[in-house]
Amino acid sequence: MGQKSSQAKDKVKQEYLKIINSKKKDYYKKNEEILNSSDFKVISQQNWKDYMQQEIELIKDKYSRSSWPLDILSLVNQWNTVKDYKWRSNVLWYDYLQSYKVNTAQDPTPVTTISVSQVTSQYTNSFEAQSLIEFLHGHFQNPNEHFIAAMIGRFNSSFLQEYCLENNELKGNVQTVPKVYSEKMCEDIKGFVMLTLQAMIHYYGGVVAKTIEEKPGEMYDLMLEEVFTNSLQQSLLKVFHLANKDKCDLYEENLEKYSGLTCNDLGIHRYFQLDVEHNKPSKVQGNFGNAIYIEGILNQPRNFKAYGKAVDKLRELENQFSPLKKLGVVIQTSRVLCECVDEYWKDDTTVSKDDLVISADQILSIFLYIVIKAKIPDLSGHVQMICEFGRKIIQNGSMGYYVTTLEACVEQVETMSPELLMKIKEYSLKGY
């Protein structure tokens, strides 16, 4: 009896393996070209290390004043390639599994004109990852076994040793000429990110190389995310601060001086003056711009927690240390800002959707209000980090718009003056 059952089991197993084998064959056939590309052969010969050495030789001269290329080279030379095998072959398996995944219905496209970068989602370090990019992220959490992860770790320590003291303060030479060093430090990071991409082509070959070929921008974003650590961003914030010290001081001084400004002081349209406690409109009286109305608003008690959710959101800039995550915070702030307006007017039927259209003038003023209330030290440094490392295609799209707006707000705070506030008041009284 038992024998029969085990025979049956064996049969099932055989058939199962047969199916798997034929699926594998299909997969190999479909991807023959990639799998047999010269890069993949490189992997099978296990000599990706040679290619890495060549890559570093190529960039060594360009970064001759920095220590990281040689540090990475010594890492390559000492690396024991056996440890990597499972990671590299995993990618093939992952791709194979992906190719047999049932296509589940896509979420409906969200109704918005803003798209958010891919790399902001939560990653899982498993075969359940939703995309190759997510899957790779899981790999980078293993610096002891995974070469690229080790490379990132080595770069970080090399970078910090070069520019920072043990207490994380910038070294004296960096402090003397911060402008020069801020450029150099950014160049180092960008150069290293490009090296990691090149390294991945050799390390993984096949499927990953193909993805890098097809979506170099997304892969660049992924690697940028991996390379940024908190210490790295702190050192950048410090050097940016020193390089723009005068402006930063002005910004901080003015933040303190003008922290009590109201929405009305900043020329924000009545519909968006969420700090007025009883701002319910009466369409019959209508004219929001007239002087009597403005006076009326001025006498209303102010709620200093207006746009509170947006203010809190923007403050997250300080907790997110990679440029793309910071970018995500800026985009989310622009959305939360709309939610605040919706929330404020939700029970009021006299306000129509057409009234709640935020123009460029208004978004700038509202963002300025949020910036003043959020009081983020070194805001310009966070913005600079996004601008410095974000790709141009991101900067010229929707995400760039809000970063530019934030940048404009920093400038507004720096140049804020009683004269300007007087001008805004005159403008509001004209009923714009």
Binding site: S37, S38, D39, V42, Q54, V111, T112, T113, I114, M194, L197, Q198, I201, A209, I212, E213, E214, K215, P216, G217, M219, Y220, G267, S334, C338, E339, V341, D342, W345, K353, L356, V357, I358, S359, A360, D361, Q362, I363, L364, R391, K392, I393, Q395, N396, G397, S398, Y401, Y402, T404, T405, E407, A408, E411, Q412, T415, L420, K423, I424, Y427, Y432
Partner: protein, 207 residues
């Protein structure tokens, strides 16, 4: 795997000429009824179909029109491929502002920037203060296109954005021809993430 080409278009003009409404009119069908009632009209993305089945994506940046924000404009038109400069046909002063914007763009913006001028509020023809011919002549003199538009009736709105799309695409094609991608003499796969669309690395064969 050719992705849709994206271009940055900036909308300039004095406050009250109806810039925001113009963009909003153009993009109206991009907004659907949903729970989010507050609409941000300051950034709009829309695809435009050109002759020959070419599709381009316009990222339209609205800019603040109030004088107090004047100094911030360069932040917004930086790296723009095209500019739509709007004026109000019933307000002579707003047309002078167009000329000032053109001068500024010519000296400060990207040298290849395409310009389209929009004479807005053309539904109020009887109050016209700027002669249509003068406006067209001026546009011709700076190699820009001119359209009469009305955000209210929708007249000329699609036309002017299609024209700016056509122009920025033409400039892009011209530049692409003038600077073909250098082939990689080393061979092997090289990654390039350039300013524009990310570039495909040159494919093989390895050293």
């Amino acid at each position: 795997m050719d992705s849709v080409k994206e271009f940055k278009i900036v909308t300039l003009g004095e406050g009250r000429v109806g810039k925001t409404s113009l963009t909003l009119k153009f993009a109206r069908n991009e907004f659907h009824d949903n729970e989010i009632s507050t609409v941000q009209a300051n950034f709009i993305q829309k695809d435009v179909q050109l002759d020959g089945g070419i599709q381009v994506r316009l990222n339209i940046w609205d800019t603040a029109g109030q004088e107090r924000f004047r100094a911030l404009a360069p932040n917004y038109y930086r790296q723009a491929n095209g500019a739509v400069i709007a004026y109000d046909i019933t307000d002579a002063g707003s047309f002078n502002k167009v000329k000032a914007w053109v001068k500024e763009l010519q000296s400060q913006a990207d040298k290849d920037i395409s310009i389209v001028i929009a004479g807005n509020k053309c539904d109020r023809e009887s109050e016209r203060q700027i002669s249509a011919q003068d406006a067209i002549d001026y546009a011709n003199s700076i190699n820009a296109a001119h359209f009469n538009s009305s955000a209210k009736s929708g007249k000329g709105v699609n036309e002017l954005y299609t024209e700016i799309a056509r122009r920025v695409y033409a400039v892009h094609q011209k530049n692409a021809k003038a600077n073909p991608q250098l082939s990689n003499s080393r061979g092997g796969r090289r990654v390039r993430v350039t300013n524009d669309e990310p570039q495909k690395p040159k494919n093989k064969n390895c050293c």
